[in-house]
Amino acid sequence: MSVLALVLALCSGAAAQQFPAGAALAGDEPLFSVESPIGSIDYLAGRGLRLGRSGLTIGGFSTVEVELEQGEHGVIDLDSINFLTPWRFTDSISFFAEIEIGGLLSYDTGTGKVESDVEVALERIYGEYNYDDRLNARLGKFLTPVGIWNTVPAEPFTWTATNPVFLETALSEHTTGAALFGSFYPGENTLDYWLYGQFFDEIYPSEDPEPINSSVGGRLRYGAPLGDWAVGSSFMAAELAGDWSFLGGLDGYWKLGPVELQSEFTIVGGALPDRNQWDVYLQGVYELGSLTHYLRGLYLVGRYEHNDPSGSIETTNIGDVGLTWIPTHFVIIKAGYRFSDRQTEEVRRGFFSSISVLF
């Protein structure tokens, strides 16, 4: 069934290339529909299966990675299948869960071994009460709203097959607790805010960095109405066994025509030494399709990152260059090379690529 859906979806993607210039290729039309007692059940390529009037959508994504790390054998990973289940009960109440089935298959090109270590994890699970645009409440496990990258960190939705280093060392990717958030519209612009805290043990915690016991944080983001530019700041205090760590961050985003720039500065200090560091990255994306329609969907990506851990650990300068090709909205192909002046557990050099499919 899923293979058939993928084939049909790819066919619809080919058709999508015929759309008039200017049409939004959002994947918002059903690939097929079936009438049922709960209304029309629609499948939208790369946007999931919408189950009639129930308000439930079941979709997700999957990624295959091909890595040629310097000094290591090449590896081909069927990394994970992630299921996304947004469920809107009423205008005000909704539920969301992301379930990841990871470690599916890994092929070592040097030894010829195929390994599988399947794990199921609850990446996100939360309920929301939406009063209006200005006031919303969330309870559960969600992505920690620090900076830009950590709010959408999954492979298909980033420009490179590698992540900035600070994501794995400076903060916990998830928060298990509660958040208040919303948007105001001063003038023509948008001011978004987040206030949040962790007061439960994390559900399915990540291993790096060590899971915290509690936290409190906030984020402000001010930007243009359509998001062409935005500046943001983040703050978070995290506690582990009575010791506190403090994070501050600034970020910026700017898009003009075919060019997109994004940068984050993060500094962490306090009594949790593994997290202490400062880090900055600048990423640029150029839409090559603006040059000629033959390159439609192709993007040139470059990123420079400087990471400076505290203590005796040396600083690291990291560069990523690559191409991202989005032939149709639900297929994302990335290939890039990462170089750096040091190779560490977090900074792996070499060729990294991935193919992701949204379903």
């Binding site: 759309f19 210039a21 200017g22 049409a23 939004a24 996304l84 909205h329």
Partner: protein, 141 residues
């Protein structure tokens, strides 16, 4: 049949099949909704950056089908020529559990839906508008 009559017939057929925009595009809501919207507010609604009417009800935006002339004209008027990153935008919204607006296949369908759904917003050719909906914004040609 004269050549002119044949040409008119073909033009009419194309217009009916492809949904060509004869007049200007206008943004419409239910007649009971007393609002006016700026172009950036319309854009925010269609990007789901703005989800609630000031009365507290959730906004239900509807798009025309993506192969239609009206959809292309709307996208150009509201988002300019800068639509290359829209698929990336909607992919990221999908990860957040936010789905793009639903689509309807004709101006008539948009008119019927908006006239019957107090939370709805849509856009149609101005020549199709009647008293069953309220115009809240006129898009530039």
């Amino acid at each position: 049949m004269s050549a002119r009559a044949a040409l008119v017939g073909v033009a009419l057929a194309v217009s009916l099949a492809g949904g060509a925009v004869a007049g200007e595009l206008v943004v419409i809501v239910h007649p009971d909704r007393d609002v006016s919207l700026s172009e950036s507010e319309v854009a925010q609604i269609y990007l789901k950056k703005r989800s609630f009417w000031t009365s507290g009800e959730r906004i239900v935006p509807v798009n025309r089908d993506s192969g239609s002339v009206a959809r292309a004209a709307f996208a150009e008027a509201v988002f300019g020529n800068d639509t290359g990153l829209l698929p990336v935008y909607w992919n990221r919204q999908y990860f957040r559990g936010v789905l793009p607006p639903a689509t309807l296949a004709s101006d008539e369908a948009v008119m019927r839906f908006v006239a019957s759904e107090p939370r709805a917003i849509g856009y149609v050719d101005s020549e199709r508008v009647d008293a069953t909906v309220r115009v809240v914004h006129r898009l530039p040609d």
